[in-house]
Amino acid sequence: MNKRVKRGYLQISFAWMFAIIVGAFILFLAIYFATKLVNTEEKVLDLKTGKEIGILLNPIETSVESVKLTTLTFPKETRIYGGCDDNYGFFGKQLIQISQKGFNNQWTETEIDGSKTVSFQNKYIFTEDYTEGKKFYILSKPFNFPFKIADLIYITSSSDSYCFLEPPDDIKEQISDLKQPNLLLEGNCTGSKEEIRVCFDTGGDCDMAVYYDFDYVEKKGKRMVFKDDALMYAAIFSKPETYECQVKRLMQRTGQLASLYKDKALFVSQKGCDSNLDLLGLINMINENYENSNNLEIIKNKADKIEEDNDYSSCRLW
């Protein structure tokens, strides 16, 4: 009788064991695939948002305006990562990646130039490694060298305030006209530790120093040379590595555009439209001399001369 009871127990416990093991396996599979699906969904959303940002940046290209401002608001906390690749094709590429807080309040994973990164060859975004917040200000300013090269885009978070200390009058006027709430002039700065202090022509207790008369910005121990206001803002709002990479891409485009204008000059000269501009000299100078922003000075001199010649030409090329 005892034997019979024992066997009965064995039979039931085996069935239960079997059910538990297989059940656990099924549950494990279900949870595993559900987690995978959620991760994939988050990745898709990040990718989609990144692409949308790139697309939404199209309308902020300037035509006759000197500057354009727009805002971008996300429903949840978002990080916008900006990357730059200056070795891709003829123009390099702008990389954008988005990371948002997931359902467990963790940032979704990021790997710039990874599977979630979207890229654009015709965009130049200047930003810190990443900017974080729900609301972002997108400022766009044309860069001319000597002809229009591109619209430079600066992305800042509404939670990052920049305090401009003792800027020159024209910069003061530009910032004041812009009415971008996170760009503050001296009188409006709060003095809080989170504020990013931008000093003009003085070092002192600042996060960066802009030597406006000497055309360079010093930030994190690195010097970024600029040649006009558009590049100065670019140096202020971006990390030094991004700045150097984007300026190199801008020089690549300058070379291509100079080549286009050189061909156009030859083409329209057949119609009696003469313009003796040394565009070939500019192309050679960029190809031979440009390594980093320190070389902008010499190229700028050439560009200025070409601009002057074009302005006085009876037949303007641009």
Binding site: G8, F18, S63, G272, C315, W318
Partner: protein, 204 residues
């Protein structure tokens, strides 16, 4: 009972039963029942797993078809946004080369761009970029350098890949060029349609 067990188990079982007696035969029957139960449960579990796998595959199929639509919508959106601002990009715009024109495309520059389009093939993320004069309404004559100089064409195909099934996104622009007649040079501007199309299968 014994007879029933023997009937169920066949000859081999019969032999065993004979050896071990009725008590063991009863246990064997119970064990057989347990095996049957396990088999039933195994089939049931397999069916449940299969059911969830099928449901999962179905959900994924719906999800990915949605994803393709999203990608297509984003490409379309890109084309739409691009066409509104393309005329202002440095490769297209007139700048100050022509008097007081806004939303103006420099035809001479565009023809030079067409000759060196390789560098710009993927620059705007569009598969087709075309500029077509809309007046006078004539049959399509595609421009090359020769026909453009003679003014004997009305369509500049800047980038043209094989794309089908998608509508053009277009915008109206001034298409300007330098003309030279009787020793005088002048600006000739005509109204044109700038259209952009994207390829569904490529990254836009």
């Amino acid at each position: 009972m014994q007879a029933m067990v023997n009937k169920m188990r066949g000859k081999k079982g019969q032999l065993k039963t004979k050896k071990t007696g009725s008590f063991l035969a009863f246990n064997c029957l119970k064990s057989k029942k347990a095996q049957l139960k396990i088999q039933q449960m195994a089939f049931m579990l397999m069916a449940v797993t299969l059911f969830f796998a099928l449901v999962g595959m179905f959900v994924l199929a719906i999800k990915f078809s949605g994803l393709k639509e999203t990608a297509a919508t984003l490409c379309e959106e890109n084309a739409m946004m691009l066409v509104t601002k393309l005329a202002n990009s440095p490769e297209f715009s007139c700048g100050e080369a022509f008097d007081g024109e806004t939303n103006c495309i420099d035809g001479d520059k565009i023809m030079m761009l067409k000759e060196n389009i390789d560098a710009y093939e993927d620059f705007w993320g569009a598969s087709n970029i075309e500029i077509r004069k809309i007046y006078p309404a004539e049959a399509e004559k595609v421009c090359d350098i020769g026909t453009y100089q003679g003014g004997d064409c009305n369509t500049i195909r800047l980038i043209s890949k094989n794309v089908s099934g998608f509508d053009d996104k277009y915008n109206f622009v001034s298409l300007c060029r330098k003309e030279y007649i009787d020793g005088d040079m002048y600006d000739k501007c005509e109204i044109a349609r700038l259209s952009v199309r994207y390829n569904y299968n490529e990254r836009c």
